[in-house]
Subunit: 397 residues, 2 copies
């Protein structure tokens, strides 16, 4: 157990009467951005941080450092909070079940969260209520991989670790029965899921928020662009998406949130297949990169609705405020001082919104994002892309 716990600068009786105290496990940029809206709502946000100087620890008053895998650490953290929620999905399910058994409010609860932690559990559950998935199968040998490939019309297929993958890590594209990555995947030590490689025209994301008493709201469906497994760009709403398809995607996400009993934000990443199907790719039960546009682009941001949901407050309108909102991630490049580029970017575009995460630059690391909104899709995309490229040093001018 980490001896620095509990570190509570603010006990409840030092805060105004009725102040909700929300504990977020994990001190990354999602917790950091949650703090922006927690301040406005008068919610005291506490963060269980991986270290004293992580992203969110720079931005909150109470950020005790502790191991989120240690039951006693998480228990002591939870004791200081009205509700516990998450910046990431890595807290062990059993630990959360134990907390729930002790009447700690954990949102999303372990029975929901397991579907974002374990892809095999997720696929099996989605199948049970006919949510549309790519063909899939848990595989235990190279022979089963080959059989699966045969069943879905041949290679290439995809192998995924069922637990612990993120941002493209734990995903292998398998070109044939002798692909060396088959052995790499099975060497990862966790069960492996094989999936059909969907022939898709683009990726979409459906974000919904759901509260404990079952109120839910659905954000506009967005288009996301991934590079090397990392989300790099999001356009809201997804350009040219037929209204009935957008509604179908929202309904799928709302159905999943309801069936799984999600509380908080649920992000459903989907493929828009060339044959017209919308297929569920991944689930996340927390504010999600494909929802960052909502900070500047929606009436209520995903972070605010996540807080409202876990506190069982009425949810806010997810409506877009502008015809188009485009978010582009700022990934670590050659430039170490991210702030210097602001002099140019902010002067060039007085409507640009910049979000830095308090993270030191490392190659490919998400260190921030920029958002532009407007009525012209092309111009809005150009503004956001330009700013991100300039800040990372990809372009100079």
């Amino acid at each position: 157990m980490d001896i620095r716990l509990p570190f509570v600068k603010f006990s409840r009786d030092e805060l105004p009467v009725g102040t909700p105290v929300v504990g977020m496990v994990g001190g990354g940029q999602l917790a950091r951005m949650t703090q922006e809206t927690a301040i406005a709502l008068g919610v005291q946000l506490r963060v269980l941080a991986e270290g004293p100087t992580v992203s969110a620890a720079q931005a909150v008053a109470d950020a005790p450092v502790g191991d989120y895998k240690d039951p006693e650490t998480v228990r002591r953290f939870a004791a200081e909070c009205d509700v516990v929620t998450f910046d990431h999905e890595h807290v062990p399910t059993d630990l959360l079940r134990a907390l729930e058994a002790e009447n700690v409010k954990v949102f999303p609860g372990p029975d929901a969260l397991v579907h974002a932690q374990d892809k095999a559990v997720m696929r099996s559950r989605l199948d049970s209520f006919d949510a549309p998935s790519p063909a899939h199968q848990v595989v235990e040998s190279a022979a089963e991989v080959a059989d699966f490939a045969k069943r879905v019309g041949g290679f290439p297929i995809i192998l995924k670790t069922t637990r612990g993958g993120y941002d493209g890590k734990g995903v292998w594209f398998i070109d044939g029965p002798d692909d060396a990555d088959i052995a790499v995947a099975f060497g990862s030590g966790v069960p492996i899921l094989a999936e059909e490689k969907v022939d898709f025209v683009r990726e979409l994301s459906a974000i919904v928020a759901r509260s404990p008493h079952g109120q839910a709201v659905a954000y506009p469906i967005v288009e996301s662009v991934q590079r090397d497994g990392i989300c790099v760009e999001v356009t809201a709403p997804a350009p040219g998406l037929a209204p009935e398809k957008a509604a179908q995607a929202q309904q799928t996400a709302l159905r999943i949130a309801g069936e799984l009993g999600v509380v908080g934000i649920l992000a459903v990443e989907m493929f828009e297949a060339r044959d017209g199907r919308l297929l569920v790719n991944e689930l996340a039960m927390r504010p999600h990169n494909t929802g960052h546009w909502s900070i500047d682009g929606a009436v209520t941001s995903q972070f605010e609705n996540h807080l409202r949901a876990v506190l069982d407050l009425p949810l806010g309108s997810p409506a877009a405020r502008a015809p188009y909102t485009v978010m582009v991630n700022v990934l670590g490049g050659d430039v170490e001082d991210m702030h210097r580029g602001l002099l140019h970017c902010l002067a060039r575009d007085p409507g640009l919104k910049v979000h830095f995460y308090g993270k030191s630059v490392k190659a490919g690391r998400k260190v921030g994002h920029v958002t532009a909104y407007g009525s012209s899709l092309e111009e809005t995309q150009e503004r956001a892309r330009h700013a991100a490229a300039y800040l990372t040093g990809t372009i100079d001018e």
Copy 2:
């Protein structure tokens, strides 16, 4: 000197390269709301707080407690920051002059700030470049008060303390030569300014941001409603204000910011006199209550532009995002738990934006504000007024 200084959780080398560190003197709601935007901009905000649990101390990582009137305390605080700015205007001018002499960046600087600290200095300076003021005169006796009244057409007139007044405190309405408040005013121990009681149709506010190298932006002119000297409601833009009058008000504020060398936000409260004149009432050199609408209602909030200005970053667009934005203050009433009312208010109005300040309820105290925006003036006003009244307990339903 307060022995708890320096309390620096984050030294510069623990933050990403280039991270600006802004020190704000004073831990009220203005510092608290500044933190929302500091987080997004990747600015590390430090607050010199009046106590360990004040409004902004609940919302930032570094909030050392210390006396802002003590030179050594402020000096040590400033040593940890790239620039020092203010949540209030009460830091002694001489102390700031001493800091500036030691090459500390202080924005707004003492030579500008003194005009927001001393109403006699302000009036004299505005006269020097013919900025429109009510008739005024420093008075030292009841006889001089009577003479001044004669000069402006008779009683009633207004007396003001030249230093230290706020939210209606230090202002007396004098009905005649025998008014008992004349003695009260002279008993306050600071020089007294007499002013013409302007016959106004409404109060307006012009907010501008100005950076050290002289870039400036002007927000839309708003109408503010005061009750007992406290701002209670702001509508942006001021309904029915002729465009040429709005431009005139913006130009007056920009002129004042330039002449006085203001860096950061300057709020110019004005009277729209019945005879059509726009007269300067008060100046504030910090984010201002009449600019809170900009958090949800403008492309760039006053808090973000204040930070950008003091860091000499290019300023953001002050344009409104909706036809009308209405902000209503939540003042302490009979309800102690301000959060309980959210259940009703947020359900009734999914577009409502709530801002709580982390302050315990006291009668008449500003404990938060609500903002609504939309295309119908009447409906938007009704939404914001209703929410504020419900939260404070003035209405029930």
